[in-house]
Every structure is written in structure tokens, then in C-alpha cells.
């Protein structure tokens, strides 16, 4: 398996190369909003379309590469690991070993990224030539950072990619976001997102430095447990709190979600899909692989409070869904609700059901990421320009977009945990794990899930069914329906959901056995 581990750095280097190539492309930006692509005439739009084509091809190839190495790593008994030469960070006595790892615990995250990228860049391909090179440069910066966060074993590398992900998102939203009447200016939303994230990541940095100082070297994501056990309980509490803050903002947990709605609203559609589908999973990665694995005692000690926070998020997000006027906002808050459920799985993982909650959470990461990517992409395809429809002003859009309506409805059903689809399996496991911790909290969480599902179906109903209203009245033009290829892609995704929904063990088994035994000894689940 050694030779396969050599592939890991390419998961980061390939988008980096793409970023450089896009940046070097001789084309000036046509920014949306200001000139809408008309600015430089057809030549500019043509050049931008060429960029979009290049990006499409690259993301398919890169996505396939990620998916391949993730699946192989999930099947490899001990996972993959590559380590660079140890170097000193700035000064002599802290050695950092730049290590990457990939086993069944983090492979689902990378697999999710690999599957989402082709979907996003196909469904939301820039056919009008609206976006210039800077769009793809910032997108690739975000993508390489996401891959880096999921792969990094050394904490300094982890923090590096954590911050560059923020930078990628900053430039992607800042350069190509669009204001709308519901979210104020792009910049105010952007600054809120930026500061919120930093409020989390700076304490996380202090925690990382504290762990490094305690261990005398960079302990790495997998060495946190042993590095932290050398500290006394008071210090460990603070370090735990620093990490928790960073992940709570990124996920977000209830109370840390102030940036969520406006940021998603002003982002370009592809950015929005990637933020919700994959970037929020950085927070999930943190709570599953760093908090739950590195600080089991603290997780157990604060479990009641954290579980309460999760249930509050699940119920609150679902209730907010009911009050939203636009499809996109329903998606945003249902995402909050589902992510809170996911976190509930992590924080209720203790005792006998230790691995159940964590496995379910990782499974939910995968499901939620794919579903949200699809939902946000489909939502942006309803209108030309990506504007999300107002529920009250639109209706009966199905007449113009039959294929889109069908796949969107299926994705909504998947999101509502329809039995037989993968989300159902994951959610049941989460609730099962939560039930052993507290039946009451589980009851409320299930009610939250139910209400959120109702709101989603209601949203679909109001936009697509009923008597045809607007879209002109609502101020947008309905986009053409999905092409056959795009529908085919959606059907393939739905097939994946059904397969994983009917036989989730193919996913759950490797994850659970690696969680129970990270070193991978004695694990033989494959025939």
C-alpha cells in the first residue's frame, strides 16, 4: 500500500496546479453584477467559457482521483500514511512532521469532496461565460484546503489548511458573490462570516500551540489523545474549549450560526453548494476526529450541555424552516437542523454505543454533504442567474422544469430521511445512539427532523406545484430544464443514495472497524 500513499500529496497539489493555471490564463475578469459579462464583448465571454470547460474537465478528473484513493483507503486495513521530512517551524526546537493520512475515518470526507466537485461543476457550469479566472483560482484554493484539512495529520498543517480554506471562501464570495435584497451587501455578510470563523479558529490555534508545547513536537491529529493525557485536567479543559469553539462555528452549532444565512445567500451558487456540502464538514471532521477521539473525557463530561445544544439546533433550525419565504433559506436552516443531529450523534457516543454514534455521524457527513450539494445546485438552477424563488410569489414551475422538479423532489425526500435512502439509515443510527444517552432529547430531536422535513416538502409544493404563478411576477426568468446528461448525473446520485440506504453496511463496516481499532489490526471485513 506504500505506493498508493504517494498519491496523497497530489490531492492537494492538483488543485494547486489548477489554481496556478487558471490564474495564469490571459483573461481579464468580467465580474457579475457590475457588467454581467457584457463588459468585454463576446471575446471575454468566450474566454471565460473556455475556463469553465477546463474547470469542468479538471474537476471530473480530480474528483475521480479523490474517489478512487478514498475507496482504496477505506478498503486498506491500516489505511494510508505518508510523512515528509521533519522541519523546524521558524526556530529550532519545535519539529513539525508534515504527515498526511487517509483511513476509513477520514476517507468518507475526501470521498464526499471527490463526489461533490464533479456534481457542482457540471450542474452549475458557467455557460454564459460570466466568471473570469479569479472564480476558479479561489475555488481551487478552497478545494485544496478542504482536501488538506481532511488529509493532514500534523496539527500545523491542519491549521494551515483551515485558514487557507477561509481565504479561498473569502475571495470566492468577495469577488463573485452577489447582493440581494434579503441579505444586504456582500461585504457585510462576508465580514461577518470571516470574523465568526476567526473567533473560532484563533482559540483553536492557541489550543494547537498548547498541545505542541506540551508534547515538545507536533503531536498530529492522531496523537492528540496521548499528548493531552500528559496535561492536567484544567489545561485540557481550555484546550478542549479552544478546539470546540473553532468547530462549533464552522459546523455551525446552535448559537454559532449567525453567519450562516447571509453568507450562503450572497455566495455564488457553486460556492454555496461547496460551502454547505463540504466546508461545513470541516467542523464535523473536527468534532468527530479531534474532539471525540482526542478528548473523550471532556466530551463525556460536557456531553449533557453539548447534547442540549445539538437538540436546540435541530429544533430551532426546523422551526426556522417553517418561517422562511424563499427556498434557499429553507435549505439553509434545514442544513443547520441536520448538522445539529449529526453532532448529536457524536456527542452522545459513549459507552457501549461509542462507535455507533461516531460511525453514524461519519455516515451522515457523507449523506448530508451530497444531499445539500444537490439541493443547493438544483435550487440555483430554477431561475436564470441563480436567484432563489420566493415561495409566495411562485407556483407551478414544474410545467417548465419537469426533470429538475423530479430530481429536486427526490433529493428533498432523501433529505427528509425517506426509508430506503441512505439518510434514513444514518439518521436512525444517530437517534439510536442519542436514545441511549437521553430518550427525551431524542424525542425532541426527532420532532425537529419531522418539522424540517415538512417545511422542505411544503417549500417544494409551493414553488413547483399548484397553479402557475410568476416567475415573471417574482422578478426572475425560469431557466431551461435539466439536459439529459445533467438528469443522468442526478439519477446516478439518487441510485447511490438508494444503494447505501438499502445496504449501508458496505459503508458503515469499514468505518466502524477502523474507529474501534485505528491501527487496523485484525480487521478483515472484506471477502
Amino acid at each position: 500500500m506504500h505506493s498508493l500513499a504517494m498519491c496523497l500529496p497530489f490531492a492537494i497539489l492538483l488543485p494547486f496546479a489548477a489554481m496556478i493555471l487558471h490564474g495564469a490564463a490571459p483573461s481579464r475578469d468580467g465580474r457579475p453584477g457590475k457588467d454581467g459579462g457584457r463588459h468585454g464583448g463576446d471575446g471575454l465571454a468566450d474566454r471565460n467559457r473556455a475556463q469553465a470547460r477546463a474547470a469542468l474537465i479538471f474537476q471530473w478528473a480530480y474528483g475521480a482521483f479523490l474517489a478512487a484513493i478514498s475507496v482504496l483507503a477505506m478498503m486498506a486495513p491500516a489505511g494510508l500514511r505518508i510523512m515528509g521530512r521533519a522541519v523546524a517551524l521558524g526556530r529550532s526546537d519545535l519539529m513539525v512532521e508534515p504527515a498526511l493520512y487517509l483511513d476509513a475515518r477520514n476517507a468518507p470526507f475526501l470521498l464526499l469532496l471527490g463526489l461533490c466537485l464533479p456534481l457542482i461543476f457540471t450542474w452549475l457550469r458557467d455557460k454564459d461565460g460570466r466568471y473570469g479566472p479569479s472564480y476558479y483560482v479561489s475555488a481551487n484554493l478552497l478545494i485544496l484546503s478542504l482536501a488538506g484539512v481532511f488529509l493532514a495529520d500534523s496539527l500545523v498543517l491542519f491549521y494551515l489548511f483551515w485558514e487557507t480554506a477561509l481565504l479561498g471562501a473569502y475571495f470566492w464570495i468577495g469577488l463573485h458573490g452577489r447582493a440581494n435584497i434579503h441579505s444586504g451587501s456582500v461585504y457585510s455578510a462576508l465580514v461577518r462570516f470571516f470574523l465568526f470563523t476567526l473567533v473560532g479558529s484563533l482559540p483553536m490555534l492557541v489550543s494547537i500551540i498548547a498541545l505542541c508545547a506540551a508534547a515538545g513536537k507536533d503531536p498530529g491529529v492522531n496523537g492528540i489523545l496521548s499528548a493531552a493525557s500528559a496535561l492536567d485536567a484544567g489545561q485540557r479543559n481550555w484546550i478542549f474549549a479552544g478546539f470546540l469553539l473553532g468547530f462549533a462555528v464552522k459546523l455551525p452549532l446552535f448559537g454559532f450560526h449567525g453567519w450562516l444565512r447571509d453568507t450562503y445567500n450572497v455566495s455564488a451558487p457553486a460556492c454555496r453548494a461547496l460551502l454547505s456540502g463540504v466546508m461545513s464538514k470541516m467542523g464535523a471532521y473536527g468534532i468527530i476526529l479531534i474532539l471525540a477521539q482526542g478528548f473523550p473525557e471532556e466530551c463525556l463530561r460536557y456531553a449533557p450541555q453539548l447534547q442540549l445544544l445539538c437538540v436546540l439546533g435541530a429544533v430551532y433550525g426546523a422551526l426556522l424552516c417553517l418561517a422562511q419565504e424563499r427556498l434557499i433559506d429553507i435549505l439553509v436552516y434545514s442544513s443547520l437542523s441536520h448538522l445539529s443531529l449529526l453532532a448529536l450523534g457524536v456527542f452522545s457516543a459513549a459507552g457501549e454505543t461509542f462507535s455507533t454514534g461516531l460511525t453514524a455521524a461519519i455516515f451522515q457527513v457523507f449523506n448530508h454533504g451530497l444531499i445539500m450539494t444537490a439541493l443547493f445546485a438544483f435550487d440555483a438552477r430554477i431561475a436564470i442567474g441563480g436567484e432563489s424563488p420566493l415561495l409566495s410569489a411562485t407556483g407551478g414551475l414544474r410545467a417548465g422544469q419537469r426533470r429538475l422538479a423530479a430530481v429536486l423532489l427526490t433529493a428533498i425526500f432523501a433529505s427528509c430521511s425517506l426509508p430506503g435512502m441512505s439518510n434514513f439509515a444514518g439518521e436512525i443510527l444517530v437517534l439510536f445512539s442519542a436514545f441511549t444517552a437521553s430518550p427525551w432529547l431524542t424525542l425532541f430531536a426527532s420532532i425537529g427532523a419531522l418539522v424540517g422535513a415538512a417545511a422542505l416538502v411544503r417549500g417544494f409544493h409551493m414553488v413547483f406545484l399548484g397553479r402557475r404563478k410568476g416567475p415573471e411576477a417574482a422578478g426572475f426568468t425560469q431557466a431551461p430544464d435539466f439536459s439529459l446528461g445533467e438528469t443522468g448525473l442526478a439519477l446516478a446520485l439518487i441510485a447511490l443514495w438508494v444503494v447505501l440506504g438499502l445496504y449501508p453496511m458496505v459503508f458503515l463496516h469499514p468505518v466502524e472497524s477502523t474507529l474501534l481499532n485505528p491501527a487496523g489490526r485484525g480487521m478483515a471485513f472484506l471477502p
Binding site: 481579464r28 475578469d29 457590475k34 522541519v87 523546524a88 517551524l89 521558524g90 526556530r91 529550532s92 519545535l94 513539525v96 500545523v156 491549521y159 494551515l160 485558514e163 487557507t164 481565504l167 473569502y170 475571495f171 468577495g174 469577488l175 461585504y187 465580514v191 470571516f194 470574523l195 476567526l198 473567533v199 484563533l202 482559540p203 490555534l205 492557541v206 500551540i209 498548547a210 505542541c212 508545547a213 506540551a214 496535561l231
Partner: protein, 476 residues
Amino acid sequence: MNPYLLSQAPLILGFVFLLAVASLRPTGRESISNVIAILALCSAAIAIWKFLPEGAQYFGGAIRVTTVGKALAYLCLGLTAAALILSEDYLQKVHIHGVDWRLVVLALALGMVNLCFAGDLATLFIAYELVSIPSYVLAGFSHKDPRSNEAGMKYLLLGAFSSVLFLLGLSFVYGATGEIHLMAIHDKLARAVEAGANGDLMLAKVGLGFMLGGVLFKVAVAPLHSWLPDVYQGTNLASLALISSPVKVAVFGMLGMLLWGAFEPLSDLWKPVLLAGAAFSAVMGNLQAIVQTNLKRLVAYSAVVNAGFILLGILVNSVPVVVFYLASYGIMTLGSWAAFMAMGTRKADVDELSDVAGLGRTQRWVALAMTLILFSYAGIPLTAGFAAKFGVVLEALKPDAYLPHWTLTVVYLSVAAGLVSFYFYFQIIRAMWLQSPNLDSADRKGAGARWPAVFVLTLSVVVILSLGMFLRLPGM
């Protein structure tokens, strides 16, 4: 010949040579004077490397060569040479006569080198003044510009005040210990602390307090920093590249060497003072920077913030950390002035945030380099600024670090206040990348053609990235 004199000879000879050039050919080509000055600096660095072994003492201990002192001297000379390259064609734009300006710079360099090697109180004070006085002159060099006059005058008056405090402190210390050599002062103080002779120590403590007051004023540690933004705003960029970068490095280096060396026995006094300075700098520097729209003032407040971190570094008693921080800070500051020079139009410098709007499209490389420098200021990984801050915090969090009671609180405060600094550094990034240009492109034509600024900018970005990507400092 005395090796120390030999090592100083290039600077002195360069000075004399420039003086001759200035009197004989006052209207001659300016670049000759620049070449002479840079050669003088380079040969001084080589001479220091060749002739001054570590641990050597000259003139009966008035000069003491240490590893740290040598590292700082190289750093100061290098930064000064880079600042001279920057000045190559900028001085004409601000109507400064280059030969005169470079004369002052060589005097300044002499002062900085001696500050790094000072072994007794007299040398220390003379070198301190030899750094200070040229700085005042440099700040007020554009004497036809009222703002430059204001800056020079403000700097002179307040700087003279700080020098007097410093001198007063020195004399108190001399009075308390009866010694002039720093090593001897250290021994006496250590014995007095051991014997618990509080009467003798009182005077020394008062003296140290005055010295600290003077130096902290000079390096603009909050709350003694209110003059700094005004001076930065009025000073031309070429002079600013000197007084904000190598001079800061030299004075901070001197502070560190004094406190770790001669006054180490009195650490119960100076550690809390530095701690308070660091806390004030983190809070006031960051909060005051939020509302600034002037670029130079923004950088001035960021200098206050960084000063706080350097004090923390001195506090945790780690020489490599402080030297690394000073190196990265000096280079970042120099790089940002180089960027501002490259962004200026043919007639005017960039001044307000709105002047850099849309630069990402008109001057892509300059904007990109400035962005990287700002990342470094803010402390984003892979840059020198991150490695430097990481080092300070790491040192403070080490389990076996013996530190005053509130240190960890102040470290957390500094990092938390860093959140605010992200906001104002990203104001500049926002202006460059997310806003549209508001100057005519005709006005910008030829702006990128100034090779010295672009060269120094590129150089500093390369150094910042390579320091950030795990390179060690030579000799550390």
C-alpha cells in the same frame, strides 16, 4: 589595527567619501552615492563577520561582541541596504537630495551597529543618540512639506524626551552600582538581590524604570504610542523604511540584550512592566486601527500591535524567538513600504485606503505581494509572521516556562485581539481585490515600472515565505 575599528571603517570611510562627493559634485548623478552607501554597508557586514569573533571585547569592555548582537547587526545592515535600494529613484519624486540623505543613513547605520555591540553605559548612550538623531532628521527631511515638518518636530521633541529619560536612568544605575560595564552591573545587581540589599536596589530599580520608560516610548509601546501614527503619516516612504524597520529592530534588540543581560536580576520589576505594555499594545493598537483609513497610520498601529508581541517574546526569555520575530517584522515592514512605493503614481504616493482600490486588476503582482505581506502581518501559516507569533506563543505555553502570574492571560488577550487585526489588514486586501479602481488607468501608467520598489518587494516576499516555510535563521 584594532579589529573593531576595522569593522567600522567601511561605514566611516563611506561617510567621508559621500561627504566628498556631496561637496565636490553636488549636482552629480545620484545613483553613485547610492552604490557607495550600499557597498559601505555590505563591506561593514563582511568585516563584522570576518574580524569580530564572538565573545571578544574591545576598548576595555566598551564593546562586547555577542552572537545575538552579531545577528542583529547583520539584520540592521541588511534592512538598511534594502531601504537604500528602495530610495534609488524615490527620493527624486519627493524632491530630496539623495547624497545628503544617504550621509544621514550611513550615520544611522553606524549607530545601529554600535547599539548592537555596546558593552558599557557610555557606548550604549552614544549609540542610542547616534540612532536617534539621524532618525529625527530623516523624518523631517522633506522640509517643504508641512506634514513632514510636523513629523520631524514631533519625533524630535518626544524622542529627545525619551532620550533624556534613558540617560537619567543610566546615570541612576551608575550611581546605584558604581559600575559602567554591563557585565559588572549584572554581577553587582545579582549579588545585591541575593543579599537582599533593598536599599541599594531601590536606586537601580528607579534607574531601570526610567530607562524602560525611555525605550518603550521610543519603540512606541502602548500607551506611549500616540506619536507614532503622526510621525509615520508625515514621513516620506524612503525615510520611513529606515525608522520603522532597522531602527526598530536595533532598539528592540538593545532592549532585549539589556534586560536579559545586565538587568536580568531585576526581572521581578521589568517583567510586569513588559507584560502591561504587551497587554496595552494588543488592545489599544488593534482597537485604534479599526477606524483608520490612512495606510501609513494603519501600518503604524500594526507596529504597535507587533511591539506588544515582541515584548512578550522578550518576556519569555527566548533569544531565538525574539531575533526571529524582529527579522520577520523588519522585513514585513520594509516590504509594505516597498509595496506602497510601487503603488504610487508618478507624482503622489498612495495615502488613503481608497487609493489602493482595484489594484488587484491594475498592478497584479504588486497587489499579490502586498496581500502576502498582509497575510504575514495577520499571521496566516506559511508566512514569517505566523512562524514568529507561533514561536512567541509556543514559548509562553511551555509547561516548564517560569513566567509572571498574568502572562498566559496576556498571551490569550493578544491572540484574541489579533482577531481585530485580521479585520483591518483585510480592509487593505478588500480595497485591492474586491473594489473597483477609482484612479484613471492613464494615471497608473508607468507606475509599475519602478524596478527598485518591485525588486525589494519581491525580495521581501521571497524572504517572508522562506522564513515562514521552516527555514532556520543562520546561527540560531
